[in-house]
Structures are given as structure tokens and as C-alpha cells.
């Protein structure tokens, strides 16, 4: 019986493994040196083409490899060098000279569960090398993506250190579910978005700020279905793959130390009125209303005796420090990478700070030619001192914008005014300086990302790899607001004696990935690379919090001392994903390429009838430049036309949405259960159908690289709270209905303009995306965003319009005769009501991108990076609600634009006249919707590499001194300080609203980097 089995198995293997049975083996040796300087090149991969038989060159450039015969081809590759293929022939000693490559074709690209060279991919993938952002002091690597890749739109929500941002790859696909892309670090889908529980308005924290961007080796963004579909139901919003640094074989152990120190300041201060100007304006408003300003307490000479510049009072220049130390090395069998870093970034608001410690260790060991294993460990600990912001009434920056300059933060003794003082203005002017320095809002976050893998070669060319990893996060929030602040001292429901909150959250993800990889070829020209895999992912979440109030005094700031502890919470949540996936890559003579992938995902979030989903994709590519008729075009190195089609999904629809559930309800002191949601066993993922066509071209030996992509994506089965007849007992049921489309064009051009003593290179990327809501559950518009004065809401979701559409009255101008606002009476009924609301603009840019120029000469290097966004609108909601309120109330300071108000007949202006308690002139209208296009000088850096002969005697390999400035200049028509803010961080339907949001910061720093 056994013999029978072995016969079957061996005959099966015989038919699929041609040509490798009679390998006698010829030993080839040689040395690899560099063309440029004749130095030996260690760590070069020498592989027998078409097999997994490979070695790498040692520290002296020597190598030794066994090949099957004289027809074998040796493939020499190394990152940064031009790959070479050499037929062995009759030689036994082959010495090779390798050239530094300036083209990107040989770049190694990480895709899904494998790696390829850029020239062999048939899908749309953008790669970002850390070289591009090493001089930009980004706190998190998603910040580093801004303006670096076509199709990737990154917008920072505020200037909070380590704060949240919006990342969108090829547009927004979802209305109710999340639009965040999938971030994978070393194979683990990491937490992204805000981790903390307590609401801080738009100034959320960012889970990705726990990683040190300096530990990153490469970032690859998967954009089209063929690249992403292997991630199945998590891929619809794009996938960002991060690979961290690892040790290199056969290299002397290298150490790198990096020190950066600098200053941070706000990009631009808002322009507000001083006390006298404001008083004049307010007196005018009251007079226009027919009342006596003196009776309302607006007395010239008295009320404006105190003139406080609140913005100045709460802002400061922050100090920035970052120190890093890393080492990597290894020999033939073992490689390691170890690094540690410290980052201390003071926010521009008083008392705001971000301090981070990270450590990273990576270890790879080859036991024998078949078995290897390794592990990676990332530890990170952040202490984040936060301040309240934007849409809080008692926020710091928001308070400073609104607060009347008539009040001072300090009394004559220099103490801060608090709610117990008579001079405290009270609602809505809470002392912003006090709000910044008195409370304690500390968040301690700890992250551990760890993984262990085993790689075993079962048979030649058949590799099995299993990896188990965990992404563990612990977030502790320790908060206390004393009685000298708004919540702790002013709110009657809290008790006037302090308010403390303490919460603890644990979020962790455990993932086990197993892959089987098999390469083979037929008749020399047909190459196959197949992968099959099985993955299990489990997410655990546990949190709890407690609140206390009525403290004995402000000397007691922990809840142990609280008199009343009457609110708390504890919760646990699990979710899971089980999947299998497969990929087949085929190429004929490297000329015709095809890829097929599919993934079968089962998620705990989907209804019982739709537990599992299939996500297939296919792509083909044609290397036109390899065709004989293209040979005459000598300047053309590579021209590849590729096209792909496939399906991906979005499973971020929330947990337990498909179950019919009851939750707790109270009644007269007793607790019972009441219905909470209706069951929908057909609830499933949102599905995106993607089609992409692209062209990769490389000219003049890599001096000019162009990539163009055009795509058409349709997302349907959108998660939506479907309205149902209320006679069912419920008003909505979570269902899948509605569709959104995204169509766009991307262009990336990289050139090396001059490559002699002076080297000048340019990188440009441009993206255009058209987002459109195709259909919704009903034809009724769905309103989102804030409630507006005089209209339903600030944002609307309508078929035929993109997401992020603004809603309001249309402002036609100021009537020169009366000074009142003229609005468009859309329904022609003679009145201006909320029914006259219409679409007034949208937050989606028509074009966005980045331009980088790098020049280097001898040891000097200069880099200039511009980033821009064109065609997006931004709603200046700060002006709409308070700073330009035409006298609607006298409780806030006004923007300098208010001085342009209408005063007498015949005045032509676009600011209506100021009349106390008049809200008509202040309706939410297109008057407040401004053009948010901007061009920003994102980064300028200058560096100098000290000549080798100066540093050689200290055994140092390279030293670089550099200075860098970020966000130095911004050109925009927006009247607010920063066109790139968004108070609802991460929102899709209501993005691009500036509601007292802290602007970005500019940083100037100097740094020193030493390698030895």
C-alpha cells in the first residue's frame, strides 16, 4: 500500500518538476566588485535563475555557488545595483562588475504575500522610499505619504502633535463604514485611527504615531484590484504595506546615530480684532438694532481698557527633539537589526506635548539550506499631553479665537481667573489660558508588535512559511479638570469641585498566516509563481473607565479622593476573520505577464447568510519594449501596458450589526431590556468592482520614468441604515444598499535631469479623482455634519454629487441699499427658509499632488518639496458660527474681515451690516464656503556630507549635517489660517470643515547623522 502511494506521489512530482532530477552540480566561484570604484560588493544575491538556489557574496565580495550545468543562468541582484544575468557556459570562475542603478525597474516591491521587482508587476503599486521623507520630521508614517504617491490623498486634520489625519487611496468608497485604508506593518494589519476613548473633537490621536518612521525600509501602496484583492474584504480602501528594516548578510555591523533639534511654530495666526475695534463694531451693532450700547455694558474707554491677545496668550514656540540610534549587521546565516529612538515634540498650544520612546529588534537566522526562522519586535510607549480643542466650548484654541479681548487671563496678582472669581466672564468665554495649563489630560499608550516566522523548503522551489504575530495596544487616559476650569468649576451637574476621568483600553490583534509558495517553469520561457495561503485573525478589545467628582480641593486630583463616583463603564468586544487565498503569476519570456488572485474571507461581522465572500481579480501586462519591432527605439528601456479587473471588499461595518438584539434600559430605578436592533442575516461587506489600465515607461537608461494609470471603481452594497416602515417597531435596519463610484487618472514622472558632478532629479505626481454617489436607499437626501443656522445641516449626501458636498443657502451678495444679505430663493415662494437650501460646493479636490526636486553636488544636497491641492472647498464654520456673525450675538471676538461690513447706503461689500440679535444676515450660506486650494512649500532641506578623508581616522563611515524646514510657506486664497484642516477627523461626508481647528505647524530644525 505504501509503495503504491509513493509511486503515485513520485510520478506526480516527476511530471511537474522537469529538468531537476539529474543535477550533478558544477561549482562556480568568483568575486563581485563595483564598477564605480572597484570596491568589493558584499551582500549581493546570486541566484540560479528559475530556482530558489541562491547565495550571497561575503564581506570581500566572494561567492561560491553550485549550478546544474553549463546552460544555467546566474542572476545577480542587489538593491541599488543594476541586476545582471550571466550564462555560466564553460567557466568555473566568474568575476562580475556591478553598476549602481539609477533606474527604478530593479527596485524590489513588496506585494501582498510576496516580493517582486518593479519591472515584473502587472498591477498598480506605488512605492515610497524612506529617502523621500527622512528629512521631514513626521511623527507618523502616514504623514510621510503626503504628496509622495499618485492616488494617495493625505490631509492633516490639525496641527496637534501626533495627531490624526485622513488618508484616502483613490477616493472615498463608503458613507457609513470606515474609509481608512488597510495598514500592514511586517505582515500585521495594525490599528489605525484614534485609539483613545474620550472625545477631543477633531484633535484625535493617531495609532500610527506609535511607530518610528526611521525604522521603515520601504512603503508600498497597493492601488488596483490585482494588487489588493489578495486582501479580500479589507482591501477596498487601498492597502499600505510597510516593511521595517532588517539586517543585511555579510556586512560589517553598522551603527547609525541621528540627532535632531528644532523649533515649532504655528503656520499662520488668525487675524482678529483688538478690544477697541471690537467695541466700536459691537456698539454699532447695538445702535443699528435701536438699543443703547452703554446700557449693555459697551462703554468706550471702560470696556476696552483691557486688550488681551488671546491667541498670543495660548500659543508658544515648541521645542522639537529627536534622537535615534540603530545598528544592523549579520553574516551568512544570521542577520539582525536593533534600534531605539526618543522623540519629544512640544505642541504650539501651552501644555501640549508628545513624547515617544520606541525600540525595534529584528532577527533572522538560517538553520540550514531548507529551514530558516526569525522574529521581529517593536515596542513603543507614548505620553501624550493633550488639550481640548476645536468644537469644545471650553477648548483652548477655540476659546482663544472666540474670547472677548476685554478680559484678561491673569488678575493683578498674576493668578489665573477661575469660575469662582467675579471677573470670570463665564459662558461662553472660559479662560483659555486656564483651560490649557490647569487640567491634566494625559494619555499613555503602549504598543507591542511582535512576530515569529518559520520558513521551510519542503521540496526544491516549494516553500512553506508560517508566521504568528500580535499587535497589542494599551491605552490609559488619566484626566482631571480642577475647580478652576470650566467643567470642574462651572458646570452645576458636575458639582463645582473638580472632575476626574480615568480609563483603560486594551486592543490587540492576533494573526497567523500560513503560505505555500511554488515556482516552476515549462520549456524555459513559461514561468509560474504560485502562492496558496490560510490566515486566521482575531481581535480582542477590553476597556473600562470611571468618573469621579466633588473633590476636597484641587490638591487631590485622583479619583481615590473623589466624593462621588457615579459613572463608569466596562466592555469587551471580539471579532475575527478566517480566510484562504491564492495567487498565480505567469509570464512568458518576461514579455507577457498575467496574474490571477482570489481570496475567500469569512468574517464575524457578516450576517449568517453571507458569512463568506469571494474576492477574485485578474490582470495582464504586455512588455511592449521586449517585442522585436521596438528594438529600434534605443532610448526606450521599458514600456509595459497593463490592465486589471477585480473585486475587493470593505468589512469595517461594525460588530454585531447583523444580529437582532436587545440592550439594557432603565425604568424608575429598575433595569430591563428593550429592543435595540433588527436582525439582518443578509448583512454583508461593501463591495468594490475595480478596473484599471496603466502604462509604465522608462527611457534613457532610467533617466526618465513615467507611470500613467486610469481607473474606474464602483462600490455597491454600501452599509446603510435602511429606513423601514415604523409599524415594524423599528425605524431602520442595517442593510446594504447604495453605491458610490470613483474614477480617476494618475500620473507619476521621475527624472534625473543632470547626472554628472551635479545631480538633479525631479519627482512629480498628479492625481485626479471624481467621486460620485450613484444611488442611495431612498431618493431623500441624507444630511450630515453640523446643524446650520437657517438650514438643515452643513453637509448632504445626494445621488449625482460627490461625498463631502456642502449644503446651505446661496449667498447672492449684500444689498447696497439696506446692507442685508440677499439669498437665492430656490423654491420661489417669496421667503427664505430651510427649504431654499441647496448644494453650494464640495470638499473634494479636482487635482492634488506633489513635486520634489533634489540637487546634489560634491557633498552638498538640497531638496525642495511642494505639495498642493486644487479645487476643494473648505467651510469656514468658525466664521459662520462666531467670528463673522453680523451682530447675531456679542459674546465672541470677530475676525478682521468684519471691518468690511456694510455701513451706509451705496457700500459695496460682501459682509452684511451688523445688527444686534439679527440672525438673518448670518444664515449658513455660500458666503462662508471658501476656496481651499493651496500650494505649500512642504519641506526644504539642505545637507552636507563631510568628506571621507576628514572622518576616516575616527573610524566613521559617513557624517551628514543638515537643516530642514517644514510647512514654511503656503499660498492659498482661504481667509482662515490653514486650508488643510478638518474638524471632524476621518469623516467622509463632512470633511473640510474648519471649526476653530488648530492650524498646522511649521518646524525648523538642524540635525546630525553619523554612521560608523
Amino acid at each position: 500500500m505504501r509503495k503504491f502511494y509513493s509511486v503515485i506521489i513520485w510520478s506526480v512530482l516527476l511530471t511537474i518538476l522537469p529538468g531537476y532530477l539529474l543535477a550533478q552540480g558544477v561549482r562556480i566561484t568568483g568575486r563581485v566588485i563595483s564598477v564605480q570604484d572597484g570596491q568589493p560588493l558584499p551582500g549581493v544575491n546570486i541566484q540560479v535563475k528559475g530556482t530558489t538556489n541562491g547565495v550571497s557574496s561575503d564581506a570581500n565580495g566572494n561567492y561560491s555557488i553550485t549550478v546544474p550545468g553549463s546552460t544555467a543562468v546566474l542572476l545577480m541582484t542587489s538593491i541599488g545595483l543594476v541586476s545582471q544575468e550571466i550564462t555560466v557556459g564553460n567557466r568555473t570562475v566568474i568575476n562580475i562588475q556591478m553598476q549602481e542603478s539609477i533606474n527604478e525597474l530593479t527596485q524590489v516591491v513588496v506585494t501582498g504575500y510576496s516580493t517582486l521587482q518593479r519591472k515584473d508587476i502587472s498591477s498598480s503599486i506605488a512605492s515610497i522610499s524612506p529617502e523621500k521623507f527622512k528629512d521631514i520630521p513626521v511623527a507618523s508614517f502616514d504623514q510621510a505619504l503626503q504628496g509622495q504617491a499618485a492616488g494617495v490623498q493625505v490631509s492633516q486634520s490639525s496641527g496637534t502633535p501626533g495627531g490624526g489625519l485622513m488618508v484616502r487611496i483613490r477616493g472615498n468608497t463608503s458613507i457609513s463604514a470606515s474609509n481608512r485604508p488597510l495598514f500592514i506593518v511586517d505582515g500585521v494589519p495594525v490599528e489605525n485611527g484614534a485609539l483613545t476613548g474620550r472625545d477631543f473633537g477633531g484633535q484625535t490621536d493617531n495609532a500610527l504615531a506609535l511607530f518610528n518612521p526611521n525604522d521603515i525600509e520601504s512603503i508600498d501602496v497597493l492601488k488596483d484590484a490585482s494588487a489588493k484583492a489578495i486582501y479580500g474584504s479589507r482591501a477596498a480602501n487601498g492597502v499600505v504595506l510597510i516593511t521595517t528594516k532588517r539586517g543585511k548578510a555579510n556586512q560589517k555591523t553598522k551603527f547609525t546615530a541621528d540627532v535632531q533639534q528644532g523649533l515649532i511654530d504655528i503656520v499662520r495666526r488668525p487675524d482678529l480684532l483688538n478690544a477697541s475695534e471690537l467695541l466700536d463694531l459691537q456698539r454699532e451693532a447695538v445702535t443699528n438694532a435701536g438699543q443703547d450700547p452703554d446700557k449693555l455694558g459697551l462703554i468706550k474707554g471702560v470696556t476696552d481698557k483691557q486688550n488681551t491677545d488671546w491667541i498670543d496668550a495660548i500659543l508658544r514656540k515648541g521645542v522639537y527633539k529627536q534622537y535615534q540610534l540603530s545598528t544592523q549587521g549579520g553574516n551568512d546565516r544570521t542577520q539582525f537589526y536593533l534600534s531605539g529612538s526618543y522623540r519629544n515634540e512640544e505642541g504650539v498650544q501651552l501644555n501640549s506635548q508628545f513624547i515617544r520612546y520606541t525600540g525595534q529588534f529584528k532577527f533572522d537566522h538560517k538553520v540550514n539550506s531548507k529551514l530558516s526562522f526569525g522574529m521581529n519586535l517593536t515596542l513603543s510607549r507614548v505620553k501624550n499631553k493633550r488639550v481640548k480643542g476645536d468644537n469644545f466650548l471650553d477648548g483652548v484654541y477655540s476659546g482663544a479665537l472666540k474670547s472677548l479681548p476685554y478680559y484678561s487671563p491673569y488678575n493683578e496678582q498674576g493668578k489665573l481667573y477661575g469660575p469662582s472669581d467675579t471677573e470670570y466672564p463665564g459662558f461662553p468665554n472660559f479662560n483659555p489660558v486656564g483651560q490649557a495649563v490647569l487640567p491634566r489630560f494625559e494619555t499613555y499608550t503602549f504598543k507591542m508588535l511582535a512576530g515569529l516566522y518559520v520558513d521551510y523548503e519542503i521540496l526544491q522551489n516549494l516553500r512553506f512559511r508560517s508566521k504568528i504575530s500580535i499587535d497589542y495596544n494599551n491605552i490609559t487616559e488619566d484626566q482631571f479638570e480642577p475647580s478652576t476650569t470650566a467643567i470642574g468649576g462651572f458646570l452645576p451637574s458636575v458639582g463645582y469641585h473638580g472632575y476626574g476621568v480615568y480609563s483603560n483600553t486594551n486592543v490587540s490583534k492576533l494573526i497567523n498566516t500560513n503560505t505555500l509558495n511554488y515556482n516552476f517553469q515549462f520549456a524555459e520561457k513559461h514561468h509560474f509563481n504560485t502562492t496558496a495561503g490560510f490566515e486566521v485573525l482575531q481581535q480582542y478589545e477590553r476597556d473600562g473607565s470611571v468618573q469621579g467628582r466633588l473633590f476636597p480641593s484641587d490638591d487631590f486630583t485622583y479619583i481615590r479622593s473623589a466624593g462621588v463616583v457615579d459613572q463608569g463603564d466596562s466592555y469587551r468586544n471580539n471579532s475575527g476573520l478566517v480566510s484562504t487565498f491564492g495567487e498565480v503569476r505567469y509570464d512568458y519570456d518576461q514579455k507577457y505577464l498575467a496574474t490571477l488572485t482570489t481570496r475567500y474571507d469569512g468574517s464575524s461581522r457578516f450576517g449568517q447568510n453571507r458569512r463568506f465572500g469571494v474576492f477574485p481579480s485578474a490582470s495582464v501586462a504586455w512588455r511592449i519594449s521586449a517585442e522585436p519591432f521596438m528594438e529600434q527605439f534605443r532610448f526606450l528601456n521599458d514600456l509595459k501596458l497593463r490592465t486589471s479587473y477585480g473585486f475587493t471588499g470593505n468589512e469595517q461595518i461594525g460588530d454585531y450589526q447583523f444580529l437582532g438584539t436587545w440592550s439594557s434600559a432603565t425604568y424608575s430605578g429598575s433595569t430591563g431590556v428593550s429592543p435595540s436592533a433588527l436582525a439582518n442575516p443578509n448583512l454583508q461587506w461593501e463591495r468594490t468592482r475595480e478596473a484599471n489600465i496603466g502604462l509604465d515607461a522608462s527611457f534613457y537608461n532610467g533617466r526618465l520614468n513615467v507611470t500613467v494609470d486610469a481607473y474606474d471603481n464602483l462600490t455597491n452594497k454600501l452599509l446603510f441604515a435602511q429606513p423601514i416602515p415604523q409599524t415594524t417597531g423599528f425605524s431602520t435596519v442595517q442593510g446594504n444598499i447604495g453605491s458610490v463610484s470613483n474614477r480617476g487618472l494618475e500620473l507619476t514622472i521621475s527624472t534625473v535631469n543632470i547626472n554628472k558632478a551635479v545631480r538633479w532629479s525631479t519627482d512629480l505626481n498628479l492625481s485626479h479623482n471624481e467621486n460620485k454617489v450613484v444611488s442611495l436607499a431612498t431618493d431623500q437626501p441624507v444630511f450630515r455634519g453640523y446643524t446650520g443656522n437657517g438650514v438643515t445641516r452643513t453637509n448632504v449626501i445626494l445621488p449625482g454629487q460627490p461625498l463631502g458636498t456642502f449644503w446651505g443657502l446661496k449667498f447672492l451678495g449684500v444689498d447696497p441699499a439696506t446692507g442685508d444679505a440677499i439669498y437665492d430663493d430656490k423654491n420661489g415662494d417669496g421667503r427664505i427658509t430651510s427649504d431654499d437650501g441647496q448644494v453650494i460646493g464640495n470638499a473634494q479636490p479636482k487635482l492634488y499632488g506633489g513635486l520634489t526636486n533634489k540637487v546634489s553636488w560634491k557633498g552638498f544636497d538640497v531638496s525642495v518639496f511642494f505639495q498642493f491641492s486644487y479645487g476643494n472647498s473648505i467651510l469656514n464654520f468658525s466664521n459662520a458660527s462666531d467670528l463673522l456673525n453680523t451682530g447675531a450675538d456679542l459674546q465672541s471676538n470677530q475676525s478682521r474681515l468684519a471691518l468690511k461690513r456694510w455701513r451706509k447706503e451705496g457700500d459695496i461689500t460682501n459682509v452684511p451690516r451688523y445688527v444686534y440679535q439679527n440672525t438673518y444676515n448670518n444664515y449658513l450660506s455660500s458666503r462662508f464656503l471658501e476656496d481651499g486650494s493651496f500650494l505649500r512649500l512642504k519641506n526644504v532641506s539642505i545637507g552636507y556630507n563631510l568628506p571621507k578623508k576628514w572622518i576616516e581616522r575616527f573610524k566613521i563611515t559617513n557624517t551628514r549635517i543638515y537643516a530642514s524646514a517644514t510647512n514654511l510657506l503656503t499660498w492659498t486664497r482661504y481667509s482662515g489660517p490653514d486650508p488643510e484642516v478638518s474638524t471632524l477627523d476621518g469623516s467622509t461626508a463632512a470633511q473640510g470643515i474648519d471649526f476653530f481647528t488648530l492650524p498646522q505647524v511649521k518646524t525648523v530644525f538642524v540635525g546630525l547623522s553619523i554612521g560608523f
Binding site: I9, S604, W662, A665, Y667, G672, V673, T728, F730
Partner: protein, 186 residues
């Protein structure tokens, strides 16, 4: 080779078995329909839920139910109240919508109890009788409020989510009759 195949088969089977646990976690703050009323201890919480649901329409009942009276005038800026005061009520009026939703929410919980309570074993007879009576009474009262506020309304007697209730509307007096026997006993 064979051992390898055997081991991998075992591994695959083990992983498939753990599928259940990974793909069907239980929520801790929500209870599914099947577990809400399946043992005697569940009766009281659901009964409290019924009263809580009934109370849920109290404020909407006063606003939408009484604010159309002639002696009430709307002075403020809330659209809903202005519509009721001027008796120019539109389909988007929030208070009216809340009353309609509240009525049928109460009816849903009452129907849930009426359908499932008889199937629960181990409940004392007296408790069963009293809770069922309370459910029928509150359902009748909710229907009563609906009838005198809206006129003829659809009658819903089951939690079945099947066809959209274009149920035949029964005249108002039926609800009077349904409440009458219970009120007589009080």
C-alpha cells in the same frame, strides 16, 4: 512525504474547528432575540423594557398629541413646534414621527412578550397571567393613543417582519372594545 500530508491534514482540520470560535464571538452588551426571553429570570427585565418603551412615547405624546390645541401658541424657533402650533404639519415633523415610532415600538415589545412568554417553561402561572395581561393592556393603550391622535392606524399583532403591513385598518372602536374588559376589572 505521507507523514507531511497527514500532519497538514490534521492541522487544517484543527484550524477549521477553531473557525466557529473566531467567526462567532458573542457581544457582551447586547442579547440576541433568542436569548432575551427563554427562561423565567428573563421575564422581569423584558416587562421593565415594555414599560420603558411605553414611557418612551410620553414626551412625544404630549407634544404631538396636545400641541395642536387652540389654546397653545408656538413662540420659539423650533420648526416642529411651529408646525403644530399653526396646524401646518408636514411629513418631516420630528415630534409626530417620534410618537408614531414610540407607539409601534411599544406594540413590538408587547407582541414579543405575547408570542414568547407562553413558550417559556418554569414561569409561575400567576406571573404569566399578570405579565401577559400587562402586555395586552399596554398594547391596547398604545393603539388607543394612536387611534385618537392619527385616526385609523394599521393594527400589528405580531413581531413578524415579513410583508410590509399594509394591513387592513380596523375602525377605531375596536380598540375601545379591547381596552374595555381590562379596565372594567381594575
Amino acid at each position: 512525504m505521507i507523514r507531511l500530508l497527514r500532519y497538514s491534514l490534521v492541522l487544517v482540520l484543527i484550524s477549521l474547528a477553531s473557525c466557529q470560535e473566531v467567526l462567532e464571538p458573542k457581544p457582551v452588551d447586547l442579547l440576541v432575540d433568542d436569548l432575551v426571553l427563554n427562561e423565567p429570570n428573563d421575564v422581569q427585565p423584558v416587562r421593565i423594557g415594555l414599560y420603558s418603551a411605553f414611557r418612551g412615547m410620553a414626551s412625544a405624546n404630549i407634544i404631538a398629541g396636545d400641541f395642536t390645541a387652540d389654546y397653545i401658541q408656538a413662540n420659539g424657533t423650533f420648526n416642529d413646534y411651529i408646525q403644530l402650533g399653526t396646524k401646518q404639519i408636514t411629513a418631516s415633523n420630528g415630534a409626530v414621527d417620534a410618537l408614531w415610532a414610540g407607539i409601534y415600538n411599544t406594540i413590538y415589545v408587547a407582541n414579543f412578550i405575547i408570542e414568547r412568554l407562553p413558550l417559556v417553561s418554569g414561569v409561575p402561572e400567576a406571573t404569566k397571567k399578570s405579565v401577559l395581561a400587562e402586555a395586552r393592556f399596554l398594547r391596547g393603550w398604545a393603539n388607543f393613543i394612536g387611534a385618537y391622535t392619527f385616526g385609523d392606524i394599521p393594527k400589528v399583532t405580531s413581531t413578524d417582519q415579513g410583508p410590509t403591513p399594509q394591513l387592513p385598518e380596523l375602525p377605531k372602536r375596536i380598540f375601545w372594545l379591547q381596552c374595555w374588559p381590562i379596565t372594567r376589572r381594575l
